[in-house]
Symmetry: C2
């Protein structure tokens, strides 16, 4: 049997566009092929509150009817209201007629608003018994020990660094129990903080992979289920995955929200140098604007590194010194600040003035500001709220600082894209004379190890100390993570890269 | 049987303090009384990610043992790990010995990290059969048709304007089926955006209320279950509830986070005048600092109204004009702005400079900024991100503008606390000459009606138009709600007042 895996990139709540995408894919496929689309391919996801409103269902039904006019065989996903209840459904269409429905049983947080459905369904198709429905319902289906000659699951798997490998490993024993091929069609594309990585695949009855579509790009692949052969896997390296996910995340954020240009503050440090390189890859150099915002505490290398970053990428950039603005606002504050000593207030003020200028430019030219914070900084609160924590989306906000270096070196593997000096020099916020990040934080190598154990592995203080780390440093780091949650609640949303993204997987109470 | 309803105000993740609170309550109660505490009274809630970490359970066990040394009879709530699984548990202690446990079965989003438990348990106590456990498990218990002579439920009910009445109505038929008294002990106090309203109560077997503790304050009440009489209910009015919830929310935010002072920008408008009045009620006038930030577009009445607001409350206030700062930053932007016309960029810049100054003062004096946005503005995006959407907590961010007026008039019921002119004048952001909110928005009366139907009643466009509203206005308002979600994601967290709080109950996709 011929099956097309159509790994498309739908846009949330744009049924018209998604229908056009699917219709085009159907038109490009022979009529002896059963074409499979991802979960909620008609309306995109996550839907959040939209699932509570009737127009989602009215709209979806309208476009589903239009799509079904295609005289083809295919499976697509849509939200459906039946007898007062809403379901996440996969629809099996044969020659323009709806043959069967599978409604999702094992609901996830993305299914808020939907009721529990019936799970994977069996259907006779070309004299064979085919099971179809949702990947989230596969375990329950396997437990029923029903017989099928092929299982087809649609999905909306969100990218995390190690998730694809974990998923394949988890499915192997299930497929062996099914003793038939498994086809999984995942969507790709990004929606806000979530990157859907694609990587749709076909598994042989022995659990070996037969086909796998690329990560991070839409593609359609036709397979013959009687002619499956083992695939030699060639998984992407960590920096390749970080690169692919962040570039896709940036591109879809700007394109799907119809924002033509990105603005980025260039400090000469590694974080902004990496973000601007990713933005140029995602949007093209003509759509990225760099802004240097030197202060009286900026070193000369920060200006030359920032300039070099812009010039290596060939983007337009402006230099807007903040000293006068800083002096003027500070003097307006004299009724309060009077003769009080220089403190965090003045450091933060510089960062906030930069935000005023960057957002001013973004507003004026119809652009969005890209945030340049990394996960290590966000974890310990090393940033200024309404200052450098600002931006429409944060491409590296869920990457540890050590991963920022790793990715930057990978980008430079064939030549200097990111200034070499930005990679090698000691990180500094440059908000007071001779400031270094390591003045107030442990070195990032050590910091990231502690954060990884605490955030990704959910180890508490005594478990991390027992693993051999210095008690005082662990206590300090974990205290910083805890007391800085309030900042993270209002920081730029970052693209999800790990299984412990702040705000999505990790929330800490703020009283 | 004598039961003490101990409506305490625990602090999340502070088992030591909460144990002290409970020990003190136990010491004040006679030993022939069974004392009941709220859900998770030992560690507070919501716990969010903390439930994933071992130290929560180690800590809780330590303090639970200390508490149990009290030679009394009582029921308290704690998180518990048994055989590798974590539960939300109520513990029944008799004369210092643990007699029984009820583990929560019907898990809610607050129970993330906990496994499904066994629900309400029956225990013999003083020759009677008592059922105890969680309010969330009551429906399942009633369905089992077991006999008890008394049912005791602990809870963590979050405040919403109409929730207490809805809860009482929902419980009446359940209690009639139980045919015995029901005792519900709810916590009070606020944690971040959530206000827990208290209002613990005793229901007679016929569903009539016998006792009800006050909303918004901790209190202990001893009842004799054989001597229950019907209570004449005297529910609080809407402004009384909004007042109580917002004052408690402000107070606990500052006290539990150990922030001594609040800073508020005073515009002369109704929103900031209301917030500063609430803050003075919550924190005392000596802990509230007002800041006037006039611009070249400020009218004279905005300065006199803002001054009057501060003087009526007797707070310290500063006046820091922003004109020079605005001119300086704007001139630094000339390489980009050049001869482009005045636009939203300049309007937003003024608002962001105010944020720089307010946060500068807050940082310098160790205070937190209170946000002054209301729900109507947040809904339609009438505010500047990193400008007036800023603040540690937003006391009126979940109140519609019409409720802001209603509450302000109520506060003025015995005399002018909020300047009368701030209540009566037409709202304006004063970011360009002669600007009025109604230049770009429908009048608030109309706007709030449309928003209420869309947000609280989850009506879509055609349903609201069918209810008799102008098509063009409805379309405009709903479009604004949709395209401004990105701003709300980074705005100050607001205290939850309704069943459709942005970010908690209502989320809209941002691509």
């Amino acid at each position: 049997m011929k099956i097309a895996l159509s790994q498309i990139n739908p846009k949330t709540a744009d049924c018209k566009k998604n229908t056009e995408t699917m219709a085009k894919e159907l038109a490009n496929t022979n009529s002896d092929v059963l074409q499979v689309f991802p979960e909620l391919s008609l309306c995109g996801s996550p839907l959040y509150g939209l699932a509570d409103y009737q127009d989602l269902y009215t709209d979806s039904m309208h476009y589903a009817e239009e799509l079904s006019n295609q005289n083809k065989d295919f499976i697509f996903g849509m939200p459906l209201r039946q007898e007062g209840k809403a379901y996440n459904a996969m629809v099996f269409v044969r020659e323009g007629q709806v043959q069967a429905l599978s409604t999702k049983q094992n609901l996830t947080p993305f299914d808020s608003g939907f009721s529990k459905g019936r799970g994977i369904e069996l259907i006779e198709y070309n004299q064979k018994s085919i099971a179809f429905g949702f990947l989230d319902d596969l375990e329950a289906f396997v437990a029923q020990s029903k017989k099928a000659s092929l299982v087809i699951c649609s999905a909306n798997v969100v990218f995390e660094l190690d998730k694809q490998q974990h998923l394949l490993q988890k499915l192997q024993p299930l497929v062996r129990r099914l003793a038939c091929p498994l086809i999984v069609v995942n969507r790709c594309g990004a929606e806000g903080r979530y990157v859907f990585n694609g990587g749709s695949f076909v598994m042989q009855p022995n659990g070996n992979l037969a086909e796998q579509l690329p990560l991070f790009e839409p593609q359609t692949l036709v397979v013959e289920t009687e002619k499956l052969q083992s695939l030699r896997q060639n998984p992407l390296s960590r920096p390749e995955k970080l690169f692919g996910a962040s570039v896709l995340g940036i591109r879809d954020y700007f394109h799907k929200n119809s924002i033509p240009k990105a603005v980025i503050g260039l400090s000469g440090g590694i974080d902004s140098a990496l973000v601007v390189a990713l933005a140029v890859e995602a949007l093209g150099k003509e759509n990225v604007v760099g802004v240097l915002l030197p202060s009286e505490y900026s070193t000369s290398h920060s200006i030359t590194d920032a300039t070099r970053s812009a010039e290596l990428l060939g983007i337009k950039y402006y230099t807007i010194p903040i000293k006068e603005s800083f002096t003027t606002i500070l003097s307006s504050l004299s009724p309060v600040f009077a003769n009080l000593p220089f403190s965090l207030a003045e450091e933060n003020l510089q960062s906030r003035i930069r935000c005023c200028i960057l957002m001013g430019i973004a507003n004026k030219i119809g652009a969005a500001l890209l945030n340049t914070s990394n996960k290590s900084e966000a974890a310990v609160g090393y940033g200024t709220l309404y200052g450098d924590t600002s931006g429409g989306i944060g491409p590296i906000g869920d990457m540890y600082k050590t991963q920022v270096w790793e990715l930057s070196k990978w980008i430079n593997r064939n030549g200097e894209v990111i200034p070499q000096n930005s990679i090698t020099k000691a990180p500094s916020a440059e908000l007071r004379p001779d400031q270094k990040d390591s003045d107030s934080l442990p070195e990032y190598d050590l910091l990231d190890q502690i954060l990884y154990q605490h955030l990704e592995e959910r180890k508490d203080k005594s478990e991390i100390i027992a693993a051999g780390f210095d008690k005082e440093i662990v206590e300090k780091v974990l205290r910083l993570v805890k007391i800085n949650e309030w900042k993270r609640r209002q920081a730029a949303p970052s693209l999800k890269m790990t299984s412990s993204t702040f705000g999505l997987d990790i929330q800490i109470p703020v009283s």
